[in-house]
Amino acid sequence: MKSKKVWKFFFLVPVILYVTLLIALPLLYILFISFLKSDYYGGMISSFTIQNYIDVFDQVYVSVFLKSIAIAGITTLICILISYPFVLAISHKKPRTQKILMTLVMVPFLTNSLIRMYGWLVLLRKSGVINQVLLGIGVIEEPLSLMYNTFGILVGMVYTLLPFMILPLYSSISTVDNRLLEAASDLGASKFKTFFKIIVPQTLPGLFNGSLMVFTPALGYFFITDILGGGKFMILGNLIKNQFLTARNWPFGAAISIVLVLVTCVFIFLYRKLGGKMDDLGGAS
């Protein structure tokens, strides 16, 4: 019996090492430096202060928070609207086709996301493919502004994060009992009603899981606002990056990061309040 326990521990060691060395320690370090003071030469002065946290609540930075939350929220919403029909359509296909289609969803991950963003640049810009085609067939007379604005940012965000919504939603929709759907249709429920009364409640864990996986990174993907937003929009990711680079204010950047972690915790807390289970967030299916 005892040797079994030792073995169990042995297999846990890599995970424990990974979590402590690569997640817990860096986070603690960030927490630690968020209470220090910057010397504005790229270094830090070791004296305890909570000034950084007071600064975060300056109206300027609060509005960056709100703007980021708005962009991340809209991104999440669009992802939900695209993913549900997609996942529903896929779930009626043969298992083999399902597998192929889901693999295709993941194919873009094989390329670096920065390169994919530059790909969008070629499509969306004034002299880009989409505008050229539309101009060529006479649908528009002036090139459309498809990027360097909020639209461009949303295209980039939705495109990058969509798989994170589709995957959990797909795994939870495949657990919906078909007999329930048949019963609903036998009892005369409209498709609409079936969707909202049966499918949505049953896929709620997947929906929450997907929403968190889309919403959280959308707050921080600064390369998307930089490239497709033309650097005109500042989201939390840009703000944090600027603190570490241009402003040379690491403690303040750390404080913003910690507040961002807390915001994420609030959303997870809300999720649990609404009846979500932590196990569902693990992506187990």
Binding site: Y40, F222, F223, D226, G230, N242, L245, T246
Partner: protein
Amino acid sequence: MKSGIRFGSLFLISFFLLFLCSGCSSDDVGVVNVLNWSSYIPDSVIRDFEQETGIQVNYSTYSSNEECLAKVSSAKEGTYDLIFPSDYMIEIMIYRNMLEKFDYSKLQNEGNIDSFYLNQSFDPGNQYSLPFVMASTVIAVNREHISDEIRSYSDLLNDKYRNNITLIDDQRIIIGMALLANGYDMNTVDESELNVAKEWLLQLKPNIKAFDSDSPKNFLITEEADIAVLWNAEAALAYQEMGNIEFIYPEEGTALSMDNFAIPKGARHREEAYQFIDYILREDVMKEIIESYPYKNVNWKTQKLLDSNYLDNIASNIPSYIIEQGIYVENIGESVKLYDKLWAEIK
């Protein structure tokens, strides 16, 4: 030239490289680790140096002074042998005791540098640095689409240019531009003056298509925008590509930047670093560099070799009266906070 979109990935890569380097023997002779701006020295120059001297060059790049500072200060001492920080960053690095003093007995070609560019306020007596090239901001206008006279920054406020201007993504330069437009010092730390600059930028904002430092010239070349405030060499390259671009040095003044050779504290291959500097300072080598990346040349021997393509173009060969009235970004210490906040407000 600047900004750090790629910082994240570069950071990761440098992390891996660090591991790689700590794996190989550390005191190997015949190696020099150079950390330079991206798009500053053509590959052919590096290869020729390697061939001529037998020294292997490990070359990595950064895209802002702050990225350079972060890389040098977070890496193990001795990781880099030669870096190219700008004026105010030299000052910061000297303050943080991050640079080695130059040993001039190891150099032969330092006399090629025009003395006009030596002995600057950020490093009096050039104890820690030697100028490499100089840059200035310039307004570039696509004359095929825009015919109005543009002479000053304030002319950019014209609402005819809606969504048609691209700016460098650099808070000190762009806020500095707004300060100059209003007749203030580009390095001011006065809050009320900065407030005026903020209002000016908010007024300009509808005209701004994008902030980009990686390749602002592409906005001109792809005709995405017809006006750009960008670094002189970028403007000159856009001109080479498409012609019909006018360069304007605004009457309110321009921002200058001087990039310098510097050797970080604890560099392990100092001899090789000096050899590399000496090689770059050679007039024919500098000519090749300047012809690829037409920044302002500071080497008087090279200046005699350059042709009229370079010399007659005011974007590459910045006129000396512009340099005399140009202003360097200065280290403003804690007040950088004010600029950062203002930047968040206008974005």
